[in-house]
């Protein structure tokens, strides 16, 4: 069983800043994982992704559109996003790539060559 999505919650507590954990989806394919994280209001410049001690941390700082006027109804939250994932040993951390489109971060986490299932050709 993979540990890609095991989270380290202690990190949230030692931080003085309050964060919200964004929704995430993880899909596993033969050659790697795809991780999608929802961060509305975050653009490329306000996104930080780091890998340290086999932990992947994603921080997104939101900027909500500046609207002139009085706020009369609010459901959104002002905190920034942060979420940490423990990487499965099969992942090649040097080959992780990321993109962000309309507030969804998509990370591609390829598996290292040696763990890919070998192809056996039947003659």
């Amino acid at each position: 069983m993979s540990t890609l999505v095991r989270e380290n919650r202690d990190i949230h507590r030692v931080q003085s800043e309050q964060f919200i954990a964004p929704s995430a989806s993880v899909v596993e394919a033969a050659d790697g994982y795809t991780l999608e994280v929802e961060m509305s209001g975050v653009n490329k410049e306000r996104l930080e992704i780091s890998v340290e001690n086999n932990e992947l941390t994603i921080v997104g700082r939101r900027s909500l559109p500046a609207v002139e006027g009085t706020l009369i109804h609010r459901e959104s939250r002002s905190e920034n996003y942060r979420r940490t994932f423990e990487l499965d040993p099969s992942i090649d951390a040097n080959k992780i790539s990321a993109k962000i489109d309309q507030g969804v971060v998509t990370l591609t986490l390829p598996k290292a060559e040696y763990v890919k299932p070998p192809k056996i050709t039947v003659s």
Partner: protein, 155 residues
């Protein structure tokens, strides 16, 4: 002489309200966990995805700001009936065969979100923009709903 001092009922009511609000905070803190928030805040088990919506107003416009991460513009629908603004749409699944979903917190499927606007708006002049997963809908107030300055001449 009265034995019991008169206490206003309002003052009596506060301690019990306090208890409710702390209970509410306790409950809310339970829902801070991503597992719960994905079910409770987005309500996907019960009523589909309910995106967070903020509403602003100024003299000329009512502005709705809705969090809709990862949509395609053509899949977002905005409609207006009298004073009810409805945002609906569908987020389509992009995963293909041979993949295994290991964790699914993102909502896939149809959603619908309605809100009653504080004033009448001009349906013909509604505009919207979608950026960084946030939809901003600007609804100009109908002429009769705008605040008017009334000149009073004092002799």
């Amino acid at each position: 002489m009265s034995l019991i001092r008169y206490q206003t009922p309002e003052l009596m009511a506060w301690p019990s309200l306090d208890r409710w609000s702390s209970l509410r905070d306790d409950l809310n803190s339970l829902f801070e966990l991503p597992f719960w928030s994905s079910i409770a805040r987005q309500g996907q088990l019960f009523s589909g995805w309910s995106p967070a919506l903020d509403l602003y107003q100024n003299n000329d416009n009512v502005v709705a700001v809705i969090e809709l991460p990862g949509m395609r513009r053509e899949d977002i629908e905005i409609s207006l009936h009298d004073r009810t603004l409805t945002i609906s749409g569908e987020r389509k699944s992009q995963s293909s065969n041979g993949e295994k979903a290991e964790r699914t917190e993102r909502y896939i499927g149809k959603f619908r979100r309605s809100i009653t606007l504080p004033t009448r708006v001009d349906a013909n002049k509604v505009s919207a923009s979608y950026r960084d997963g946030i939809l901003t809908v600007t609804l100009p107030k109908a002429e009769e709903a705008k605040p008017k300055q009334i000149q009073v001449n004092v002799d």
